[in-house]
C-alpha cells in the first residue's frame, strides 16, 4: 500500500478495498516508527487526522468523494492550517496555532485529503539543508548522516521514506527541487502565480511558490490539479482558466528539444551527478527527444541576485514577528525597543538573522541602487536569457543540485558555500518559470541524483508529460530507501 500511486489509492478507496481510517493509520504508524530518526514531521496529531479520515470515509460512503478524498497528505509547516500549530520551523512561531487555513490547505480540504501532519523545514524556508529548523534537522532516509536538502526537507523525507503518499512544499530558490533531488522524489514548482500564496508564511514574496512533492510525475499532476487555481486573496495569483495538469502525461516525446545550457554543465558539478544527468538525457533521447545546446549567459549572476532580492523581501516580511500580537515574546524586557530586540534575538535563528541583516543592508539609504535595484535589473536579464533559450528548445534540462546530499554539519559554518548549492535552482524563481526535479539515478554513497527540468511559462502539463514518459522508461522514482521499505524492521 505504501507503494500505491494516488490513482491506485483513489480506486482502492472507492472500491472499499481500504478505508481512509486504515490508510491514515498505516501512515501514522509509519511516522511514529520513523520520525524519531528522520524528524520529518514537526507536528503530528493522530486524533485530528483520524477524525478527518472518518469524515472522508463518510463522504466516500455518500458517493460524494472528491479527487483526493481519504488520501493522506502532509503539509509543509509553512502553510497555515486552522487549529494546527504552524511553526515555519521557528521558535518564533513554536506555539502559534493558526486560526485560519491557507488557500492550499483549504483546496486540499475541499478535495477531501486527510491532513497527516506538518513537515519539518528550514526556519522560515531559509536554508538548503533543513539544518536551520528550530525543531532540529530532518535526516536523509538514504543516509541519516546526510542532509535531506532544504528548505522543504521534511516534505521530501516524508515522501521518500513513504511516511506520506504526497506532501506540499514551497520553493523560493529551489526549496522543492533540491530536497526532492537529494531524497529521490519528484517535485514541481509551478509558474509564479499558479498556486495562491495566501496562508503560506512569506519568505520572499516575489519568488515564493507552493508546489507538490510526490513519488511520480503522474501523482504531481493530480496534486497540482488540486493546488493550482486563482485566489482573489492573493493579488499575484493568476486568473486563468482551470486546466488538467495530467492532460499531456501520455504525449510522445518525439521531436521535443531539450536545451542543455553549457553554463550548467561546466565546472562545479560533481562527476557522479554529471554522469547520472547525462545518462538521463540519453534516455530521453531514446524516447525521441533531441538535445540542443543553449546559453544562459546571465546565470552566473543568479545566486548573487537571489541573495540580494530574497533577503531584502525577507527583512520586511519578517518584521511582523515582533512579539506584540502573537508568537514568541521575551519573558523580560526593559522597554519597547528592548522587547523587540530580545524577542527577535531569541525567536529567530542564526540564518534568519543573517538574511534579515543582509536584506536590511541592501535596502538601506545609499545602498538601494547598488544592490536591490541592480539585482532587479539582473533579474530581468535572467528572464530574457530564458525567453531566448526557449526560442531554441522546449525544455531546459540539467542537474538540480551540483552534488548529491552532503553530510550534516558540513556547510553550516560556511553560508556562501551553502548558497552556491542553489546555483541551478534560483534562476527559474527569478524568472518566475516552472521547474521540477525528478529522480534520475544515484551517485556517491548510493545517494539520489535529481534531474531538473525547466519549462516556459505555463508549460507544467508538458513538463509533467516529459517526466512521466521518463518514469515509464525508468524506475529511479520507485526506489525506496532500504531502511524504509515495506516490511523493513
Amino acid at each position: 500500500m505504501i507503494e500505491a500511486s494516488l490513482s491506485r489509492l483513489r480506486s482502492d478507496l472507492d472500491a472499499r478495498r481500504i478505508s481512509s481510517v486504515e490508510l491514515a493509520t498505516l501512515f501514522l504508524d509509519r511516522i511514529e516508527r520513523a520520525n524519531p530518526a528522520l524528524n520529518a514531521f514537526i507536528t503530528v496529531d493522530r486524533d485530528r487526522t483520524l477524525a478527518q479520515a472518518r469524515a472522508a470515509d463518510a463522504r466516500i460512503a455518500r458517493g460524494a468523494a472528491g479527487p483526493l478524498t481519504g488520501i493522506p497528505v502532509a503539509h509543509k509547516d509553512i502553510f497555515c492550517a486552522e487549529g494546527w500549530r504552524t511553526t515555519c520551523g521557528s521558535r518564533m512561531l513554536a506555539n502559534f496555532i493558526s486560526p485560519y487555513d491557507a488557500h492550499v490547505v483549504s483546496r486540499f480540504g475541499d478535495a477531501g485529503a486527510v491532513l497527516l501532519g506538518k513537515c519539518n523545514m528550514d526556519e522560515f524556508a531559509m536554508g538548503s539543508s533543513n539544518e536551520t529548523s528550530y525543531f532540529g534537522p530532518a535526516r536523509n532516509p538514504w543516509d541519516p548522516a546526510c542532509v535531506p536538502g532544504g528548505s522543504s526537507g521534511g516534505s521530501a523525507v516524508a515522501v521518500a521514506a513513504r511516511l506520506a503518499p504526497a506532501a506540499t512544499a514551497t520553493d523560493t530558490g529551489g526549496s522543492i527541487r533540491q530536497p526532492a533531488a537529494m531524497c529521490g522524489v519528484s517535485g514541481i514548482k509551478p509558474t509564479y502565480g499558479v498556486v495562491s500564496r495566501y496562508g503560506m508564511v512569506a519568505y520572499a514574496s516575489s519568488l515564493d511558490q507552493g508546489g507538490p512533492m510526490a513519488r511520480s510525475a503522474a501523482d504531481l499532476a493530480a496534486l497540482l490539479n488540486v493546488m493550482a487555481g486563482f485566489d482573489p486573496r492573493d493579488s499575484t495569483s493568476l486568473e486563468r482558466p482551470a486546466e488538467d495538469y495530467g492532460r499531456d502525461l501520455d504525449r510522445p516525446l518525439a521531436g521535443v528539444r531539450l536545451g542543455l545550457p553549457k553554463e550548467y554543465f561546466g565546472a562545479g558539478m560533481a562527476e557522479d551527478v554529471r554522469a547520472a544527468v547525462l545518462a538521463a538525457v540519453n534516455e530521453l533521447e531514446k524516447l525521441g527527444a533531441k538535445r540542443v545546446e543553449v546559453e544562459l549567459p546571465a546565470s552566473p549572476l543568479s545566486v548573487p541576485a537571489y541573495y540580494v532580492i530574497a533577503p531584502a523581501e525577507a527583512s520586511s516580511n519578517l518584521a511582523r514577528f515582533d512579539g506584540v500580537r502573537y508568537g514568541h515574546r521575551a519573558a523580560e524586557y526593559a522597554d519597547l525597543v528592548d522587547m523587540y530586540c530580545r524577542t527577535r534575538a531569541e525567536g529567530f535563528g542564526a540564518e534568519v538573522k543573517r538574511r534579515i541583516l543582509v536584506g536590511t543592508y541592501v535596502l538601506s539609504h545609499g545602498y538601494y541602487d547598488a544592490y536591490y535595484l541592480k539585482a532587479q535589473k539582473i533579474r530581468r536579464l535572467i528572464a530574457q536569457d530564458f525567453v531566448r533559450a526557449f526560442g531554441a528548445c522546449d525544455f531546459i534540462v540539467g542537474p538540480t543540485s551540483p552534488t548529491v546530499a552532503f553530510r550534516s554539519g558540513e556547510k553550516v559554518d560556511d553560508p556562501v558555500r551553502m548558497y552556491l548549492d542553489d546555483i541551478y535552482t534560483v534562476a527559474p524563481n527569478l524568472a518566475g518559470l516552472p521547474a521540477m526535479s525528478i529522480p534520475c539515478g544515484f551517485g556517491a554513497g548510493g545517494l539520489p541524483v535529481g534531474l531538473q527540468v525547466v519549462g516556459s511559462y505555463f508549460s507544467e502539463s508538458r513538463m509533467l508529460g516529459l517526466a512521466h514518459r521518463f518514469q515509464q522508461a525508468t524506475d529511479w522514482h520507485e526506489r525506496i530507501p532500504p531502511a524504509h521499505a515495506e516490511g523493513a524492521r
Partner: protein, 478 residues
C-alpha cells in the same frame, strides 16, 4: 510681525477616504467600534496573509486627481515603508513612494489679499496605522487595530504658502474639495482630515529655503494656524539670536500653545522603501478615468466662476456659497424656484447661515427648505411684506410655525400699502411730534428719519417703507 522675514509653508494632508472597507482588507472602516472589533487576519498581520487593493479607494484618488487637474499616473506603485511600532502590525506601512497615483495639480484659495493658486506636488494612497491605548490598562499599553488599514490619501502641496492665514485658507479649500467630491467625510475630530505643516523662514530676497521643521498631526484649522504662528515666531527669534533651525519633527501642544521637538533628523528612520512584492503595479485605464470623470459633480471652482459671471454675484459671495456642495445646492434650489440670485445669496449667507450656526446644524438639516425660503423671498419681491418683517416670518418658519404665506396671514403681517391708511398714521405722528417737524424744517435731515421710524412703529412695521418715505416728504414739504 514677520517684517524682513519670509515664511515658507508646505502642507501634507491626510484625508481618510470614505470607503466602507479598508484599503487592503474587507474589514469595516466605521468609527467608534470596540477596540479590535474591526481587525481581521489581514489587519493584525497574521503569518501568511496578503493585501488586496480596494478599488473604491483608487477611484476616490482618481476623483481627487481629476478635481485638481493633476496628472493621473496610468501605472503607480505601492511601496513598503519599513519601521517598527506596536500600532503597525506588519512592521511596514503600505504606501506609494516613487510613483504615486496623482502627480501635480493645483488648488485656488482666497485670502484677504485675493486669489492665489497653490500647486500640489502629489497625492498618494496609503494605509493608516492603528493606535496605542494607555488608559485603564493597569500600567500596560494596549493596541487598537480598528484604524489599521484605513485608506488615506496623502496630499502634498508645494512649499508655496506664505503665512498661517494662507495655510489655513488652503487647508479649508482642500477640506471643502474632498467633501465636495465625496471622497472624505472631513470629520476632523475623528481624524478623517489632518495636516502636517512644513515650516521654514528666510530673509526676504533669499533664494535658498531655510531649514524646515515639520509639525505633525494638526487636526483643526485653529491648531494649524496657531502652531504655524508659534513656529514662525520661534524660528525667527532663534535665528535673530544667532541660533540655527534644525531639521526636526515637532508636535503642537494646544494647551500651552507651543510646538515641541519630537525627534531630530539624526533620529529619523531609514524607511527602506521598496516596491511591495505582494501588490502588482496599479494600472489605471483611460476608460476607468473617463467613467470617474463623468460621475464628478460641477467643481467648486467652476461654480464660483459661474456664480460671479452668469449670476452676477460678487467674488466674495460666490466663494462663500461654494464653500460646500450642500450650501451651493441650497442656494441653487432657491434660485431655481424663481428668486433673484442676489436676494437669494443675501438670505442664504445671512439669515439662513446665522440660524444654522446658532442651531449648529448642517444646511442639509435646515428646517427651512429652499422652496419655503423661495416663497418667503417672493413675498418681499411682490411687496406683501418688507424685508424687515420677512426676518420675523423667517424666524417663525424656523420655529416650525408653517410656511411664509400662512404665517403672514395668521399674524396679520401683510404690508400696508393703502395710501389713505398710511397718511392717517403720518398725520397722527406729525401731530404728536411737533419738535421733530420743526427740526426738519430747520434743515436737520436726521429728524426725517426719526419721523419715518415713528410711522413704521405706529404701523408695527407693516407700512410699506417706500410709501411712508414718499408720503411723509410730500406732507412736510406741503
Amino acid at each position: 510681525m514677520t517684517g524682513e522675514w519670509e515664511v515658507v509653508i508646505g502642507l501634507e494632508t491626510h484625508a481618510q477616504l470614505s470607503t466602507r472597507s479598508k484599503i487592503f482588507s474587507g474589514s469595516s472602516t466605521a468609527f467608534g467600534a470596540a477596540p479590535n472589533a474591526q481587525a481581521s487576519a489581514v489587519d493584525i498581520a497574521l503569518p501568511g496573509v496578503l493585501p488586496v487593493l480596494n478599488r473604491g479607494a483608487v477611484e476616490r484618488a482618481i476623483r481627487f486627481g481629476l478635481a485638481v487637474g493633476a496628472t493621473l499616473n496610468r501605472t503607480s506603485v505601492f511601496a513598503r515603508k519599513n519601521y517598527f511600532y506596536p500600532d503597525l502590525p506588519k512592521g511596514y506601512q503600505i504606501s506609494q513612494y516613487e510613483l504615486p497615483i496623482v502627480q501635480g495639480g493645483s488648488l485656488t484659495i482666497l485670502t484677504g489679499v485675493g486669489e492665489k493658486t497653490v500647486r500640489l506636488t502629489r497625492a498618494h494612497l496609503e494605509e493608516d496605522a492603528g493606535k496605542s491605548l494607555h488608559e485603564d490598562l493597569h500600567g500596560m499599553s494596549g493596541i487598537d487595530l480598528n484604524r489599521a488599514g484605513t485608506p488615506l490619501l496623502e496630499i502634498v502641496s508645494e512649499p508655496e504658502l506664505r503665512s498661517a492665514e494662507e495655510a489655513v485658507a488652503y487647508a479649508r479649500a482642500l477640506h471643502g474639495l474632498v467633501r465636495w467630491i465625496d471622497i472624505c467625510d472631513g470629520n476632523m475630530q475623528e481624524g478623517s482630515f489632518r495636516c502636517d505643516a512644513n515650516v521654514s523662514v528666510r530673509r526676504r530676497g533669499d533664494e535658498k529655503l531655510g531649514t524646515r521643521a515639520e509639525i505633525k498631526n494638526l487636526n483643526s484649522f485653529r491648531f494649524l494656524e496657531r502652531a504655524i504662528e508659534y513656529e514662525v515666531r520661534r524660528q525667527i527669534a532663534l535665528i535673530e539670536d544667532g541660533g540655527r533651525v534644525v531639521q526636526e519633527t515637532r508636535l503642537y501642544d494646544p494647551d500651552r500653545d507651543e510646538t515641541r521637538s519630537m525627534r531630530s533628523k539624526e533620529d529619523a528612520h531609514d524607511y527602506r522603501y521598496f516596491p511591495d512584492p505582494d501588490l502588482l503595479p496599479l494600472a489605471v485605464s483611460e476608460e476607468w478615468i473617463e467613467r470617474v470623470r463623468a460621475s464628478l459633480p460641477e467643481l467648486p471652482e467652476a461654480k464660483r466662476l459661474r456664480y460671479a459671471e452668469v449670476l452676477g454675484l460678487t467674488a466674495y459671495d460666490a466663494a462663500t456659497l461654494t464653500a460646500s456642495r450642500e450650501l451651493a445646492q441650497y442656494f441653487e434650489d432657491v434660485v431655481g424656484a424663481g428668486v433673484e440670485p442676489k436676494l437669494a445669496a443675501n438670505w442664504v449667507m445671512g439669515e439662513l447661515s446665522a440660524a444654522l450656526n446658532r442651531a449648529d446644524l448642517d444646511v442639509t438639516r435646515s428646517p427651512v427648505r429652499p422652496a419655503a425660503l423661495a416663497q418667503l423671498l417672493a413675498r418681499i419681491r411682490d411687496n406683501t411684506i418688507s424685508g424687515k418683517i420677512a426676518k420675523d416670518v423667517f424666524d417663525a418658519m424656523w420655529a416650525g410655525e408653517g410656511d411664509a404665506d400662512a404665517i403672514i396671514e395668521a399674524k396679520g403681517l401683510k404690508q400696508i400699502s393703502d395710501a389713505g391708511a398710511i397718511e392717517a398714521m403720518i398725520d397722527a405722528v406729525l401731530a404728536a411730534n411737533p419738535k421733530s417737524v420743526e427740526e426738519f424744517r430747520a434743515g436737520k435731515d436726521k429728524a426725517f428719519n426719526a419721523l419715518v421710524g415713528q410711522v413704521m412703529k405706529a404701523s408695527r412695521g407693516k407700512a410699506n417703507p417706500g410709501q411712508v418715505n414718499e408720503l411723509l416728504r410730500r406732507k412736510l414739504s406741503g
